[in-house]
Amino acid sequence: MRTVQAGAILLICIFGMLFFSDDADAASKTIDRVRDIQLPAAGKIDKFGGPMDGFDEFDDFDEFETEPEDKAWDPLMGYNRLMTRVNDTLYVWVLRPTALVYGTVVKEPARLAVNRFFTNLEFPTRLANNLLQFKFQQAGTETVRFGFNTTFGLLGFFDPARSRLGLEPSPEDFGQTLGYWGVGPGFHIVLPLMGPSNLRDALGRGPDIFLSPQYYIGDDRTSLIISGIERANAISLMTDRLDAFRKDALDLYVFYRDAYEMNRKKMIEE
């Protein structure tokens, strides 16, 4: 019994030394060797290394080898691909040209101001979702930003809270709130016009709509026109970036899907 105990301690010591020494490489090599001994079937095939001998490197960068379970689960892929194509066609042939024409009529500083105005109006959504995530400091910052920008920023057309006071906005939506409380993204859904989303974020849009001032405009037509202006204005400000990233894609759907999911994951972690 004693010898077993001593042996175990010695082993832990050796591994501890290897792990905490600067020579992490030695540790991983030792583990590799141990793994190879224990699992001869899973041994590495060095022969396949080829001229680049890439195998050692794949071992050192296994962060990319593990893919989250839910990402592989894409039951709506057929529909999603179709809707991605519809949205993209709409973007290329309708939204983008409209935004470009709008962009030549309304100069950029004015469009930026319009964008800030609409962003300012979404304050209730940001406040509620910061509070729901117990982010009280950010909720306070948002409140100060809203008060300051609505008054000194001339109804939110300007953002002196950021440029003068250095108060960064902290956008939070209900999808992020759900994520914060542990709700997983669920499967991916491409929404008509709105683009990439997932089950959680799509459902999260519901509560957020009730907090948007536009919901309380009585007249449907006015509401629609205002939403249209907001969208056209927003798109006119991102065509450059959207075009630059869009053409990097080999598979547009997979590209948008993963970019969306990775971005949302990071936003929720923050």
Binding site: A6, I9, I12, C13, G16, M17, F20, S21, D22, A24, F48, G50, P51, M52, G54, F55, E57, F58, D60, F61, F64, E65, E67, K71, Y91, V92, W93, R96, L112, N115, R116, T119, D159, E168, P169, P171, L237, D240, R241, D243, A244, R246, K247, D248, A249, L250, D251, L252, V254, F255, D258, A259, M262, N263, R264, K265, K266, M267
Partner: protein, 199 residues
């Protein structure tokens, strides 16, 4: 018992010895990234310089730090890499490195004198991630550069823009192609180049 105490003490000693080294390495990576970004911005700010010349100078600066070859291999992934013959592997590296360089250089034209904030580096396993924030209208865009130790030098093996990893986003697209296709299909896709730009 005595052995256990000795062991814990030893481990703790080694642990504390490792920390200053990490701080030093973080500082080295932060300095490297700052010098690179500063040098690139210097060139981008010269408005009268023709694009071709800008691109050439930028590649001279970042070439030694960006490990484009490793990025390519990681993007393909171990499982797919094994399906490629040595010749196909070499062709893939050639095509994809060219593409990476091209897409990177194209993105530089999106820069319009925004201020850059340097964030403190973070140690992640044996890698170091260093980030910059680009202060754009409305929000600050975070770009994380992931460094690994290549001998006595730190090199970049992945870039994350707002959480979107360059390697990961190409990787799943390649996986998609390789699910049904052959290595040649993938190479053809790369040769075809980009999705046609909007009319």
């Amino acid at each position: 018992m005595r052995k256990a105490v000795f062991c814990i003490t030893l481990t703790l000693m080694l642990l504390t010895a490792a920390f200053p080294a990490a701080a030093e390495q973080k500082a080295a990576v932060e300095a490297l990234l700052k010098s690179q970004v500063d040098a690139v911005l210097q060139i981008l700010k010269q408005k009268e310089m023709p694009d071709a010349q800008k691109h050439e100078k930028i590649m001279e600066i970042i070439g030694p730090t960006f490990d484009f070859e490793l990025m390519s291999r990681l993007t393909l992934g171990r499982a797919n890499w094994m399906k490629f013959s040595a010749r196909e592997q070499a062709t893939f590296i050639d095509l994809f490195v060219a593409r990476l360089k091209k897409t990177y250089l194209e993105k530089t034209s999106l820069y319009t004198d925004e201020a850059v904030i340097y964030r403190p580096a973070v140690v992640v396993g044996d890698k170091i991630h260093a980030s910059v924030g680009i202060v754009t209208e409305g929000k600050t865009v975070e770009i994380a550069y992931k460094f690994y130790a290549a001998g006595d030098q730190w090199k970049i093996y992945d870039v994350e823009v707002e959480g979107v990893s360059l390697v990961m986003s190409y990787r799943s697209q390649f996986n998609q192609i390789m699910q049904k296709g052959t290595p040649n299909d993938l190479l053809d896709e790369l040769r075809k180049g980009e999705i046609s730009p909007p009319a």
